[in-house]
Amino acid sequence: MHIAPLGDAAVVITVGAEVNEHTHRLVGAIHERLERAPVAGQIECVPAFASVVVHYDPARVARTHPRGLPSDIVTAAIERMIADIRERPVRARRTVEIPVCYGGQFGPDLDEVARAHDLAPAQVVEEHASGEYIVYMIGFLPGFPYLGGLSPRLATPRRDTPRAIVPAGSVGIGGSQTGVYPLDSPGGWHIIGRTPLALFSPHRQPPALLQADDAVRFRPISVEELERLRADAE
């Protein structure tokens, strides 16, 4: 594990070099501990696959530690705080089920993904919906989940030409990742379906539907059910 400056108002704690359960649980443990007991001057922590960035205010650090470089002080404080850290124990994950209407007008790229893998569209749906996914981190866009667990049989390189707008709720495949767009956004992923669920809502507490370490399952639904779920939400 090692801590390095990120500019002059943050440090990055690097926990590993690859994505795996152990690293993920270590990141989770560090994030939890620093949230519970922030170091002097800490503003917030941003956990990712194998790192945690700690943003701080050097002026606040200097108020409580007038001598010494704020970056050194923060680094030393974090080191003390996580010296005995161990990966977070395995515990029951919260499972979030995401209803998805696959194909048709909501999945304009489903056929293409099927063709690319010599599968029928229904097989792509079956394979995608039977996967068990873990949220490794939230980033890129508000509420956007980086999911682990996409079957290698469905990995499809990003589109040559990204779309100017991918509607919020779109479920896609990009390279070896799958995820859901929480907002209307430009995007280069292959869109295979749409969920009526709001992955992000600024007026909800917490605003992001998914959190790091959630388990995610996709459940195929019909167009009628999608419309009904949308209407219920309004």
Binding site: P5, G7, I43, V46, F49, F140, P182, F200
Partner: protein, 332 residues
């Protein structure tokens, strides 16, 4: 008290000092691009530094005030006029009800901050009044201002009222203060900025030639630059060997190097995490300089140590604190 938008200008948004504590939910910090100009404008009129202002980009709006107000501008000089009276940045002014505030065009810099006593009183969303355009939330209805918008203004502080009374005196017309923010604390606006750059994770992975370009060339701010990031046109940069990175947190001022070799400086609305190599980070004290660059303006990087960068940051915070105290003492 409200402000009516007669013309919206090029891109005018409500901003404050951003949303903190939500990056783990993927919510960008956002807020004023030039935080120092925003803060000084507020300090000059007795507002809390975090009070919401209008961030005005290049071509300013035309606004009318429903009641008498005290205002101050910070940042770029965009040719502001209250009625027929010229308003330069860094100097508070009393503006009577019904006056129209307009802007004739940029003389220097890109972004001006209009602070109004009481602050822009739109509802806070996720703890901030900043506008997140991409997500369509925060600020005034999650968007840039449009013609016909009416912006609510909060209650001025007691200090703001005293400043206003002193300025107004017995006048019924626009009255500009004869005091202003010290030149020592005002960030400058230049179309050719020299910006201090800290080393980052992949600075040492740059080729020798790339390192020379990074610190020896003048980069041009590309037109495809916005509140999320500035693209720098200039000699493309190369790493000694490609690196495959996991997405990780980034900072305001992080300089990324995507595969094409065109560096990007991450700005206020940057995403919370990124997967491109990081070849440097702009020192926080120089972020206002960058924020004032217009497309076509030039930028040069100069290395700085972490020690120097943090010393400069602490000095600036001390100066700003003194300015705050100074304004209060001058209006007992």
């Amino acid at each position: 008290m409200s402000i009516r938008v007669e013309q919206p200008g090029m891109l005018t948004t409500v901003q404050d000092l951003g949303r903190h504590g939500l990056q783990a939910q993927g919510v960008p910090v956002g807020g004023a691009m030039d935080t120092v100009a925003h803060r000084i404008a507020n300090v000059l009129i007795g507002n809390d530094e975090a009070a919401a202002t209008l961030e005005i980009t290049l071509l300013g709006p035309s606004l009318t005030f429903a009641s008498d107000v005290v205002i101050a501008l910070g940042g770029a000089d965009l040719g502001a006029r209250a009625g027929s009276v010229e308003l330069s940045p860094w100097r508070p002014a009393y503006v009577p009800a019904g006056t129209r505030l307009g802007f004739t065009g940029s003389r220097a810099g890109c972004r001006a901050y209009l602070a109004i006593a009481g602050g822009i009183d739109v509802p806070a969303v996720l703890g901030s009044r900043s506008t997140f355009l991409r997500g369509s939330f925060g600020g005034f209805r999650g968007r840039a201002l449009e013609r016909g918008d009416e912006l609510p203004v909060g209650e001025p502080s007691a200090l703001a009222r005293r400043i206003g009374e002193r300025l107004r005196g017995h006048s019924a017309s626009v009255a500009v203060a004869h005091w202003s923010a010290s030149p020592l604390i005002r960030p400058s606006c230049s179309s050719r900025a020299v910006v201090h750059l800290l080393s980052d994770a992949h600075t040492s992975h740059l080729t020798e030639a790339a390192r020379e370009h990074l610190f020896g060339s003048e980069y041009r701010i590309a037109s495809a630059s916005d509140r999320m990031g500035f693209r720098l046109d200039g000699p493309p940069l190369e790493l000694v060997a490609p690196v495959d990175l996991l997405s990780e947190g980034v900072a305001f001022g992080t300089v990324q190097l995507p595969p094409g070799g065109v560096p990007i400086v991450l700005m206020a609305d940057r995403q919370t995490t990124g997967g491109y190599p990081r070849i440097g980070c702009v020192a926080t004290v120089d972020l206002p300089l960058v924020a004032q660059l217009r497309p076509g303006d030039r930028l040069r990087f100069r290395p700085i140590s972490l020690h120097e960068a943090q010393a400069m940051y602490l000095d600036r915070e001390r100066d700003l604190a003194q300015a705050r105290i100074g304004v209060a003492l001058a209006h007992p």
